[in-house]
Symmetry: C2
Subunit: 348 residues, 2 copies
Amino acid sequence: MKICTTFASVKPKKKILLKDIAQEVGVSTALVSYVLNNQKENRISKEVADKIRKVAKELNYQPNQIAKSLKMQKTHTIGLIVADIANPFSSQLARIIEDEAKKKGYTVIFGSSDENIEKLQGLINVLLNRQVDGFIIAAVDQSEAEIEQLDTNGVPFVLIDRYFPDKHFPYVAIDNYGAAFTAVSHLANRGRKKIGLITYETSLFHLLERKRGYQAALLHENLESDIHLVHEVTIDYTQQDVKQGIRRLLLAESPVDALLFGSNTLAMYGLKAIRDLNISIPEQVAVVTFDETDTHNLFYVSLTYIKQPLAEIGKQATEALLKGLQEQKSLTLQVNLNAELVVQKSSM
Amino acid sequence: MKICTTFASVKPKKKILLKDIAQEVGVSTALVSYVLNNQKENRISKEVADKIRKVAKELNYQPNQIAKSLKMQKTHTIGLIVADIANPFSSQLARIIEDEAKKKGYTVIFGSSDENIEKLQGLINVLLNRQVDGFIIAAVDQSEAEIEQLDTNGVPFVLIDRYFPDKHFPYVAIDNYGAAFTAVSHLANRGRKKIGLITYETSLFHLLERKRGYQAALLHENLESDIHLVHEVTIDYTQQDVKQGIRRLLLAESPVDALLFGSNTLAMYGLKAIRDLNISIPEQVAVVTFDETDTHNLFYVSLTYIKQPLAEIGKQATEALLKGLQEQKSLTLQVNLNAELVVQKSSM
DNA sequence: AATGAATGTTTAAACGATTAAACAGATGTG
DNA sequence: CACATCTGTTTAATCGTTTAAACATTCATT
C-alpha cells in the first residue's frame, strides 16, 4: 500500500464573464446577453452580433449557471431520490433518468433515502434549498404526508416505483398486482401447490399490491392461502429476517414448494439461505423474484424474475416532469406499466 | 396497463426570504444574516438575536443556496463522474461518496462518461458551469489532456480507480499490479499451468498495471507467458469480443486452464460464454475476476474475485477533496490501496 | 419641417443572499 | 467637557446574469 501526500498552492484561472466580452467588443453587457441568448435578433446589428459571438467563442465564454439560476428562478436541475443508489434497481433507473435529463439540458442531483422517512425529509429539504426545479422520488413507507406537502407547496414531482392510490400524485410504476398474479399463476401451472411469499413488513402500496396479487392468484388457482405462508421482514434486519423466514417456510413439517420474493434484495438473501440449507431449486422449491439483475441468469440456478420496464419508467417519469416544468402546470399522470415474467430454471 | 393523465394549475407557495424575517422583526436584512450565520455575536443584542431566531424558525426560513452560492463563490456541490452509474462498481462508490459528502454538508451531482472522452468533456463543462466546487472523476482512456487542463485551471479534483502515473494528479486507487500478481499466483498455486487474461484494449494505466502484474506473476511462477494468452476487447463490442476471446482461448487445441478477468463486466460476459460452451468451472477452467458483486457467491459457481476496498477509496477521495476545498490548497495525494483476493469455488 | 416609427444600444433594477463600511447613541476617560 | 471607544444597527455594494424601459439615431411619411 503506497500513500503519498503533499500540498501545493492553487492557481485559479480567471473566469470569463459577460463583462469581459462586453469590454472586449466595446458594448454593454446587456447587448452581449441578448446576442448570446438569441434575443431581440431583429434589433441588433449583424456586425456587432457576429463580433460578440466571435469574441465569446475566442474567450471560450461559459455562462455562470448559478447567476443565471438566481435571476431566472430556474436551475435546470432535478432532484432524484431513490432508496439506495448502490442497489442496481435504483442505479439503473438513475442512469436512464440521467440520460433523459441530459437530453433536455437538465442535470441530476441524487440522494439515497435508505427507506427512512427522516432521511427523505432531509434530502427534500437540502434539494429544495438548492432550488431544484423538480423531483423524481421513490417514496418511502409513511411518507405520504411529506409528499402531500410537496404537492401543496406546488413543488413539481413525479413518483416512481412507489405511489399512493388515493392521491392524485403523479407516478410511473408497474402493475404490481398483475405481476404478482402472473408469477403465482405460473408457479401453479408448474404444479406447485404450496406457494410462499417473502416480502417486507410495510404499508407501501406497491408491496401491498404484490401481496394482494399473490393472494388473488392462490384463490384463483384454488391453492392454500394462509397467513403463515407469507413472511414479512423488517427493513433494518432484512438478511437475518429473510433467513429466518426461509427456515420457517422450508423446514416446516409440510414445507412450501414454491417461493415468491418481493424484491431483488430479498431474493439475494433468500437464495443464500436456501443454499446454506442444501435445499435444491427448483426440485424442492421453485423460486420467482421481482426485479432484474444483469447476473440473474448466472446464478447457481438461473432465476425466474419479474422484469420491470425500467427504461420506460425512467423515461416516462423524466419526460413528464420536465414537460410539467416547462408548461408550468402541475401534472397528474398516473401510469402502471406491465411487467414481464422472465422464466428461467428456478421455476421449471 | 393503466395510464391516466390530466393537468391542473399550480399554487406556488411564497418562499420565505431574509427580507421577510427582517420585516417581521423590524430590522435590516444584514442583521438577520449576521444572526443566522452566528457572526458578530459580541455586537448583537441578545434580545434581537433571539427574536430573529424565533421568527426564522416560525416562518421555517430556508436560505436560498443559489443566492448564497453566487455571493460566496462556493456551491458546496461536488461533481462525480463515473463510467456508468448503472454499473455496481460505480454505484457503490457513488453511495459512499454521497454519504461522505453529506456528512460535510455537500451534495453530489453525478454523470456517466461511458468511457467516452467527448462525454467526459461535456460533463466536466456542464458541471463547471454549474460551479461545482470540485470533482471526483473516474478518468477515461485518452483523457490525460483533459484532466491536465482541469489541473492547470486550478479546479480541485481527485481521481478514483484510474490514474496517470507520470502526473502529480491526486488519486485514490488500488495496487492493480499487486492484485493481479496475487490472483495469478493463487491460480498457479492451485496447479494451473496455462493462465489467460481477458481485459480491455486500452491505454488506461490501471488496466496496464493489471496486465503487467499478470505477466510478472507468470514469469515468477515459471509459467507460459504468451501474447496469445491475453485477449483484449473493445469497449464498444464488449460482449461479442469477450465471447470470441473465450472461444479462442478455450476451444484452442491446447486451451487455457485458468482465466483472469479484468473487470466485473468482462467476467459476467465471460461466464455466460463459458457456460454456453458447456465448459465446467473450475474443472476445465479456473476463473478469477476483478471487482465484487453482491451476488458473486450466488453464481452457478461461486466466483473468486479481487475485492476492491470501495468504502476506503470513496472515503479517502471525498475527504481529501473536501479538505482541499476548505484549505484552498491543491492537494496531491496519491494512494494505492491493497485489494483482497476472495477465494471461492471458481478457482479451487 | 415636423412627427412617428424603426433601429440599435445602454441604463439600471432585479434575483437573494453576504459583509465591509458607515452611522448613531451610550459609555468611559483624562 | 471633549474625545475616544464600545455597542448595536443600517446602508449599500457585491456576486454574474437577465430584461424592461429609456435613450439616441436614422428613416419614412405627410
